[in-house]
């Protein structure tokens, strides 16, 4: 069970949240072309290690959260609001 510290609600169980995918992606400009939109829609780095991702607090404040989480240990390094810049930790993690 993950415990996620929501910036608005405090620490809650993972069951209140829904995963919403890779938060490194940003929508290309309208004229960026097919390759850019294909990459944005379908291709994922899918790292084994620290991952910046979206979670939705669907069973709480319904806000979108940005989380840095490790994809092997599931350790959460930081939780932020959508506009926050969350750096990935330098150390490889457990």
């Amino acid at each position: 069970m993950l415990r996620i510290r929501c910036p608005w609600c405090g620490e809650r169980d993972e069951t209140e949240f829904r995963y919403r995918g890779d938060a490194n992606l940003s929508r290309p400009a309208a004229d960026a072309g097919l390759a850019a939109f294909t990459a944005y829609t379908y291709q994922r780095d899918n790292p084994r290690g620290w991952h910046l991702e979206w979670w939705l607090h669907v069973g709480g404040c319904r806000q979108l959260l940005k989380i840095v989480r490790h994809t092997v240990s599931h350790e959460i390094a930081s939780v932020g609001r959508p506009e926050d810049q969350l750096p990935l930790p330098k150390e490889p993690g457990r």
Binding site: T41, Y42, Q43, D45, N46, R69
Partner: protein, 435 residues
């Protein structure tokens, strides 16, 4: 990386072991002569510096691809590289179900081909993989769901695949354990694919490994790939913990870690890695002789020949490479089991485990060439890779040998994402956690 055990010297490729042909007569003969004639089922080969084909991943799809390359396409200059021992990855972590009850015609044809290969696999491999066509039953709980399942069953029947509608009474007669009258999700009926069923998963790995080895394939265990060699747009071989190996063709069959291996070649894939859990109960008397799936949640269950109930549910739902699984899903699966089969309330769970899988962006696998010459991909199996092993192996071997997609797997190419012809069985869109 797991070190190579020192106690077992690894014979070179020249000293190929042969376990002989298995038969009832042989079993009898060994029985009366003290079981002294059995030997290792496959040769523990050491890597040679070059092969025509190197397959990365000694799981179901890698071994099946190697076997069909040697047996059906006449290419035996093949090595299968496996990081650990054969059989400990997803081929030994699934819930052993086989079926071809899909809706999209291309999927029905592909999985039906697989089911037909399963039906004669024991004769093909001379290995008892315990194919048991006990039937797979999908229950429905609303009228809308009945219509959806009817549509799927009609599509299957149009394509010559078996599907049968069952009334409530017929469901109860087939599976007395099911509580038809649950207050929230009463069972309205079900659809049965009588030819679906289960297969002993470990035996599938062992059977393919033995048959491939006998056909001349080198199966190299404890050999982890650490890099993929490139010369411009051409793949030249792999770097491994046991040295460099050159190859004309490198095939990645490492579901769960496809993104990691593809990254070594500089490719990004339409895949996220997720974990799926499975559970086995203590052994109980025979109570369930079909595979049952629950329609009001994500739960499926069958009973193994040992008596344990083998069951599972949905993926945990977020990217992970942790082969373990977390408790919220375990709890959800247990609740669904109780809703569907309250009679199981006092059965104890014996074991739980997780396997990490490639969840592709449209929920369908990828059997494809890549932008790099000589690099072939067998990936993206989501949680349905086991049933597809024979067809996945055959069609991947075809692609390698003929340099052309097998007609039954042409729709599974990597280009489909950019071309806008995704194979989205659930219609869930490009969200792997939703498939």
């Amino acid at each position: 990386m797991t070190p190579v055990p020192k106690s077992q010297p690894i014979p070179s490729s020249a000293e190929r072991v042969s376990s002989g042909r298995y038969s009832g007569w042989r079993l009898f003969l060994e029985g009366v002569t003290g079981q002294r004639g059995w030997s290792h089922a496959w040769t523990k080969a050491a890597p040679r510096p070059r092969y025509r084909v190197v397959i990365v991943g000694g799981g179901g799809h890698g071994l099946a691809t190697a076997y069909y390359l040697a047996a059906e396409y006449g290419i035996s200059d093949v090595a299968v590289l496996e990081k650990g021992p054969v059989g400990l990855g997803n081929v030994g972590r699934n819930t052993t179900i086989i079926r071809s009850n899909y809706f999209l015609p291309d999927n029905v044809r592909f999985y039906e081909y697989s089911l037909k290969l399963w039906e004669r696999l024991e004769r093909t491999l001379n290995f008892n993989v315990m194919v048991s066509q006990r039937g797979t039953l999908n229950l429905f709980h609303t009228e809308a769901q009945r219509d959806l399942y009817t549509r799927r069953a009609n599509m299957m029947r149009l394509l010559g695949v078996d599907a049968k509608a069952l009334s409530r009474a017929a469901v109860k007669a087939l599976v007395p354990l099911v509580d038809l009258d649950n207050g929230r999700y009463p069972v309205l009926g079900g659809f049965l694919q009588p030819r679906g069923g289960t297969v002993r998963h470990d035996a599938v790995a062992w059977g393919y490994a033995r048959a491939a080895s006998a056909a001349g394939v080198d199966i190299i265990e404890h050999c982890e790939v650490t890099g993929i060699g490139r010369d411009g747009r051409r793949v030249t071989g792999v770097d491994t913990t046991r040295g460099q190996i050159a190859a004309d063709t490198v095939c990645l069959a490492v579901a769960g870690h496809s993104s990691q291996l593809a990254a070594m070649a500089g490719l990004t894939l339409p895949i996220e890695t997720h974990v799926l859990q499975a559970f086995v109960s203590e052994a109980i008397k025979p109570v369930l002789d079909v595979v049952v799936t629950y329609g009001a949640g994500h739960f499926y269950v069958s009973q193994s020949d040992k008596g344990g109930l083998v069951f599972g549910g949905a993926i945990d739902g977020y990217n992970t490479y942790g082969q373990r699984g977390t408790l919220p899903i375990a709890q959800e699966v247990a609740m669904e089991a109780m809703t569907l089969m309250p009679g199981l309330a006092r059965v104890k769970v014996l074991r739980q485990w997780g396997g990490v899988m490639d969840m592709s962006m449209d929920g369908s696998p990828i059997i494809s060439k890549t932008p790099l010459d000589g690099l072939i991909l067998n990936a993206g199996w989501c949680y349905g890779g086991f049933k597809a092993i024979p067809a996945g192996g055959m069609t991947t071997a075809h692609l390698i040998a003929r340099d052309l997609a097998h007609p039954l797997a042409a729709h599974l190419d990597l280009e489909r994402f950019a071309a806008g012809r995704t194979v989205d069985e659930r219609g869930a869109g490009p969200f792997p956690y939703a498939h």
